[in-house]
Amino acid sequence: MNKNLERLYNGLWKENPTFVLMLGMCPTLAVTTSAINGIGMGLSTTVVLVLSNMMISALRNLIPDRVRMPAFIVVVASFVTIVQFLMEGYTPSLYSSLGIYIPLIVVNCIILGRAESYASKNPIIPSMFDGIGMGLGFTVGLTLIGIVREILGNGSVFGAVITPLNDFHISLFGLAPGAFIVLGFLVAIMNVVRRNMEAKGKPLPAVQGCLGGDCAGCSLSSACTGKSLVHHVEQLPPVDPKDVAKPASEAPSVKHTANAKNTEDVEKSGSDSSYADDKEVGKGENK
């Protein structure tokens, strides 16, 4: 159960997809003209994310590694189609204001990222919580951006007009540049809060996952090229001052094997993108 809570925390704060990982920027910038749009987009993505995470996790031992991407897309696209029809039927106004961005959830990189880096390697229940955490993190991010943009650009919150702001609309915030500016300021605020928390002695795990060496929990791992490097550099035995001081008898051979292993792995991951590496990880987990 603890692990599930950790997944929720991870999605909402530590690796918030909007403010930390910067994933899914297309819907983030395009549909957040109002708070309602932000919530609608966030929740529909959450539903797809949870369902696809569970489905992919359930199928993780059946999907061959070589064709996992098309398989993931098929799963995601099926759920998106269901969500799309449901929204068209029950929330037609939201459906029309989100427009093309509903079908585009299929290629949302948060969903593919979670499928690739988490759901395909973990059991169903943690994957579900991972989806909920990531989805809610996305929803919170989009809603925040939507609220700020709606107040500044339109003088209202969730459609309710704020009377004192009637004459003070800044239409830039309803347009795309406003989305970039608001996102930038929110990320800056979040970074300040993060830094303050770290300074207060609550050490937060490294942002961006990658440097922590925990590639399984990192949703960037599918696109990340540097991970094997970081991974193996960290696994290298630390150079002992004694070894350096010793005349070359044992030390060179130890170093040589370590180096060879390192370069070999780097070349492998370099030549075949991340396939070879992931396959090994996958095998290890399947056993």
């Binding site: 003070f168 800044i170 239409s171 830039l172 540049p177 370099g270």
Partner: protein
């Protein structure tokens, strides 16, 4: 002379120029335009210009205080930004909009990118662009003598004739500082005599613009039309005071020429084929963005150095 000579390692001869002195020269050169604008449009114009300057200086001071940087308001660059922004507004703009525009110019365009010398576009024009997009209604509403009317450029665009003498003097509708071509030229001459700007960028800008409207303006070499286009709108103000901004214009000789041509062609495109009658500020902003590229391709060859042979491309391992 003894003041100029220092016993130290090179450089041995130092000029007295520093940022605040150059900014002071620019303010001095803008004075005729500012005074004319205030006389022309009344005290509301004075209020607007003062508000812009005060907000710019205050937001630079407060931002630097908030992030714990050394205060740089003494270099007067914020004053110049505020003054230029104020001169770029119609005098009917509400004060709160001018304040927001000034804050945007300083905080977002200038300070967030690292302060003076790091901004990628002219802060005053960035602030103006923000206001044109956000407050389109007030920013394109012009009055003259209390009567709302079209600017000469808008008249030209709709095919009517304009009085070029009035435009030269500045007795037309427009933003506070753009109407009088004469005052701007006086300021430009001051700047050139003081050695603050050189003529390359404004010269190439105006020349290429004239060529462009002669070719595509539909009036051929009609001198009234060309003079009206030159004196109308922000062309003069932009060419001499904003396109020549040290930070956002190229430093290479060839780069300056390319930059000027970009400006001229873009201004012509926006004015003749665009929706709105004016295009100087967006042309300058857009060209500002091209400056790093322009500088990269126009690095001059240092004397005595043979052009470096391109190293053979090593195949990347990835």
């Amino acid at each position: 002379m003894s003041d100029l000579l220092k016993v130290s390692s090179s450089p041995h001869v130092r000029a007295k120029d520093d940022t605040s002195r150059i900014m002071l020269y620019v303010i001095l050169a803008l004075l005729p335009t500012t005074i004319f604008g205030i006389v022309n449009f009344g005290l509301k114009a004075l209020l607007l210009v003062c508000v812009c300057i005060a907000t710019c200086v205050a937001s630079e001071y407060l931002f630097e205080k908030a992030v714990g940087k050394k205060s740089t308001i003494k270099d007067l660059s914020a004053v110049v930004t505020g003054l230029l922004l104020g001169l770029n507004l119609p005098y009917t703009v509400p004060v709160w909009q001018a304040i927001l525009g000034s804050i945007f110019a300083i905080v977002v365009v200038k300070m967030l990118f690292g302060g003076l010398g790091q901004n990628f576009m002219n802060p005053a024009l960035g602030g103006r662009a923000f206001m044109v997009i956000s407050f389109a209604a007030t920013m394109t509403h012009f009055e003259y003598d209390g009567v709302s009317g079209a600017t000469p450029l808008q008249l030209l665009k709709s095919g009517e004739m304009v009085n070029t003498f009035d435009m030269l003097i500045g007795r037309t509708a427009g933003t506070i500082g753009e109407t009088s071509a004469l005052c701007i030229l006086i300021g430009a001459i001051i700047l050139i005599l003081l050695g603050v700007i050189d003529l390359v960028i404004p010269g190439v800008y105006i020349l290429s613009f004239v060529i462009f409207i002669t070719l595509f303006g539909g009036h051929g070499l009609d001198s009234t039309y060309i003079v009206a286009h030159l004196c109308g709108g922000g062309l003069m103000l932009g060419a001499f005071f904003m396109a020549t901004d040290y930070v956002t214009s190229p430093i290479t000789p060839l780069g300056k020429v390319i930059f000027g041509i970009c400006l001229g062609v873009l201004t012509g495109l926006f004015r003749i084929f665009g929706n709105s009658a004016e295009g100087v500020s967006f042309a300058i902003i857009f060209s500002n963005l091209l400056v790093p590229l322009i500088e990269r391709v126009t690095v001059p060859r240092a004397f005595g150095i043979v052009k470096e042979q391109k190293p053979k491309e090593v195949k990347a391992n990835e």
